[in-house]
């Protein structure tokens, strides 16, 4: 990130952690899908996991 002028900003800006954003997903994997039932375009696509405590 470019050097920022802290005179106009709180010191917290000096410590911003950067991470790659969603636009950087170059392998085209889809993590979120549209879902009409839950009325969202951000439904997490994941493998179902059964928590261990539920199997006991």
């Amino acid at each position: 990130m470019k050097e920022i002028n802290l005179k106009k900003l709180p010191l917290t800006f000096k410590f911003i952690t950067e991470y790659r954003n969603k636009n950087c997903n170059k392998n085209g994997e889809v993590y979120y899908v549209e879902c009409k039932k839950y009325q969202t375009n951000f439904y997490v696509r994941e493998k179902p996991v059964k928590p261990l405590v539920r199997m006991l």
């Binding site: 917290t12 954003n21 839950y38």
Partner: protein, 300 residues
């Protein structure tokens, strides 16, 4: 009918909706980009957007999660008419919001955003221990390595702060003095922690989780800098009764009936850090098997 005021991309809302289907409760989900028009039909007020329409009388409970109800405003060429109509429309909107908030609810659009500074003062008044804090525009009074800084805003993330990256502000220890002045910044005494505690509060009931984050250099100062390879251990935890009573007093004084509260356990003290009324809680809920999404669905 339950009214859920949320955002399109909000995972917690999706999980609560799953439970609503399961227990056969009807709901309306409002997104952040919906603009409602206030209309009247047979003397009854109803709201209409491009996705939803409903009478406010048919709403039995409201969950304010994120975003907010927004209304279409008419504008007029004549300035004095415009001033009058601005107020006229404001009071209509205020009436709709207050009517909805007077129903059974989880949090309210009108007071969900909280002031971290006032909350710390309120918590101290109630008798909770808090780490000493101050605001400053230089580091002259900062004790190096024993002071942290963090944002006073609710949102700590930055979308696309550079072309290919987002940004986030975590809690950070001040290790070196600054030569120049900066904008007013929040500083707080760093507490040596035994572990952290995150408590979820819903209408007088509290579910707590101990987050064993102090043994990992990466999560020692802020557990949200998750170590994905070796995650912190999170376990169910019971806060002492007197701390739970003070949490209830604090939430009542803030007029919040739902929220996540952060504490640090250090020796025999529990230091209160902050309340987040719209925070994430599904992670610890799943690990501790608290089913907080189900609790919310059942309450509504």
């Amino acid at each position: 009918m339950i009214l859920i005021i949320s955002k399109n991309q909000e995972t917690t809302t999706n999980e609560v909706i799953k439970w609503l289907y399961s227990i056969k409760k009807k709901f309306i989900r409002v997104h952040e980009n919906e603009i409602f028009e206030i209309k009247i039909y047979k003397k009854k007020i109803f709201l209409e957007s491009h996705r939803n329409q409903f009478f406010i009388d048919e709403i039995t409970s409201v969950w304010y999660r994120r975003g907010g109800l927004k209304f279409k405003r008419s504008h007029y060429e004549n300035d004095s008419i415009n001033v009058h109509m601005y107020e006229h429309q404001y009071w209509l909107e205020d009436y709709v919001i207050k009517k909805l908030e007077s129903k059974k609810h989880i949090n309210k659009q009108s007071n969900s955003a909280v002031n971290k500074l006032l909350i710390l003062e309120e918590a101290r008044k109630i008798g909770l221990d808090i780490p000493e804090f101050f605001m400053a525009t230089d580091t002259n009074d900062v004790v190096l390595n024993k002071t942290i800084t963090k944002p006073i805003t609710g949102n700590i993330t930055f979308d696309s702060i550079t072309e290919h990256s987002d940004g986030i502000m975590y809690t950070t220890i001040i290790e070196e003095p600054e030569k120049d002045d900066f904008f007013i910044t929040f500083f707080q005494e760093k507490i040596e922690k035994d572990f952290e505690i995150r408590s979820f509060y819903l209408n007088g009931k509290i579910w707590s989780t101990a987050i064993i984050s102090q043994n990992d250099e990466q999560t020692k100062i802020d557990f949200r800098i998750y170590n994905q390879n070796k995650p912190n251990r999170n376990v169910r935890y019971n806060l002492p009764k007197e701390i739970e009573e003070k949490i209830c007093l604090l939430m009542e004084s803030l007029d919040l009936n739902c929220g996540s509260l952060d504490f640090i356990k250090s020796g025999d003290k529990y230091y209160f850090l902050e309340v987040n009324s719209v925070g994430h809680f599904l992670g610890i809920s799943a690990i501790c098997n608290y089913s907080l999404d189900k609790e919310i669905a059942q309450y509504l």
